[in-house]
């Protein structure tokens, strides 16, 4: 298993849990991302903060799909903000944007989640 090179810190904001992502998101991030998801608990929405994302490869995108499945299973919304233009295009290319709500700012994402 490749080493984790990203950290995922969870903050609670009303009915939403915000996950602050820092570093490189790759297939090696699976365990830490899923731990963060467990910490997010029963939140109605999981909001991913990509502002401090350093790098993400296709393994990282695959992890987000797995996370989406888990969130859907628990009837939770998955949203994202802070994506650079580059990663926003990658979300569009992989059509992840059809299932993950993308917003410019944290307050926009929280408003969309009904948790502002």
């Amino acid at each position: 298993m490749p080493e984790a090179t990203a950290t995922f810190e969870v903050r609670r904001h009303g009915a939403a849990s915000i996950v602050d992502i820092r570093g490189d998101v790759t297939a090696g991030s699976e365990a830490v991302l899923m731990t963060a998801y467990d910490e997010a608990g029963d939140a109605r929405a999981i909001v991913l903060n990509f502002t401090d994302l350093a790098y993400m490869n296709s393994g990282g995108i695959g992890l987000l799909v797995t996370l989406l499945v888990r969130a859907n299973r628990h009837s939770q919304q998955l949203l994202a903000f802070g994506l650079s233009d580059h990663y926003r295009q990658i979300f569009e290319l992989t059509r992840l944007d059809e299932a993950v709500g993308i917003h410019d700012t944290e307050s926009d994402a929280l408003a969309a989640a009904g948790a502002s």
Binding site: D52, A54, S58, G59, V69, G82, I90
Partner: protein
Amino acid sequence: MSEVNEKAAARDATNWAKKVSTLNVSEVPEGAININVEGKRLAGPIQGFGKMWQKTYQVRLPQERVSATELIATWKQRFPEFWPEGNAFYGPLTGIAPGEVALLNMTLPGKMKLSTGVMVLYADEESFTLMTPQGHMFAGWITFSATEREGETVAQAQVLMRASDPIFEMGLTMGGHKQEDRFWNHTLAAVASHFGEADAEVDTQVVCVDKKRQWSKWRNVWHSSAIRSTLYMLGAPVRGVKGLFGAKQPVA
């Protein structure tokens, strides 16, 4: 954009394919059939119909024989050579590079021929990912990678997919999964054999990520490469006769 984001964009901008709305095949190599790729959209696991699977195939080689980067460079360069007989990968002349589209002619159970393709979604020195278009057997991507661990170089193919439509889903449950496992086992064994490990054992790990089928996606059957390939093959005699009279040949 934060400073971290700017650095990230610069670091991997060349590794990812540029955004495209539909696929475009710049050149159709001799022998390839381009009936299910041109003009199609990419389709990932979110757009598929069937249960979601993650399948991982691994083979271990002594690190002194090949490094991770050497293995991936060779795999990219000789990708079609490692495939089982009866399946053709018509890669671009420029090789496996982000954004490039390759045509595939596959043989399915019952000797059925199927024409489809893939786009190179991502490629770096230690991995590359192929993503499928609408109508492919499955909607998803396959990542080929190599890592160095405890004196070994581990070559891996990992598929994250859903069957594209109800027909392919049925096909997967009726032997398609086994055939796919055999396909990638053969490929990994061929990679190992290329580096002198003819008897290397391939580990297979299969995880059902989502047991639910996405019934809202049943209409994907409209794009089915199986149906369209079959119709194309059935139309071959008609095209042949038209060809005799000088009518313009369709795509191929």
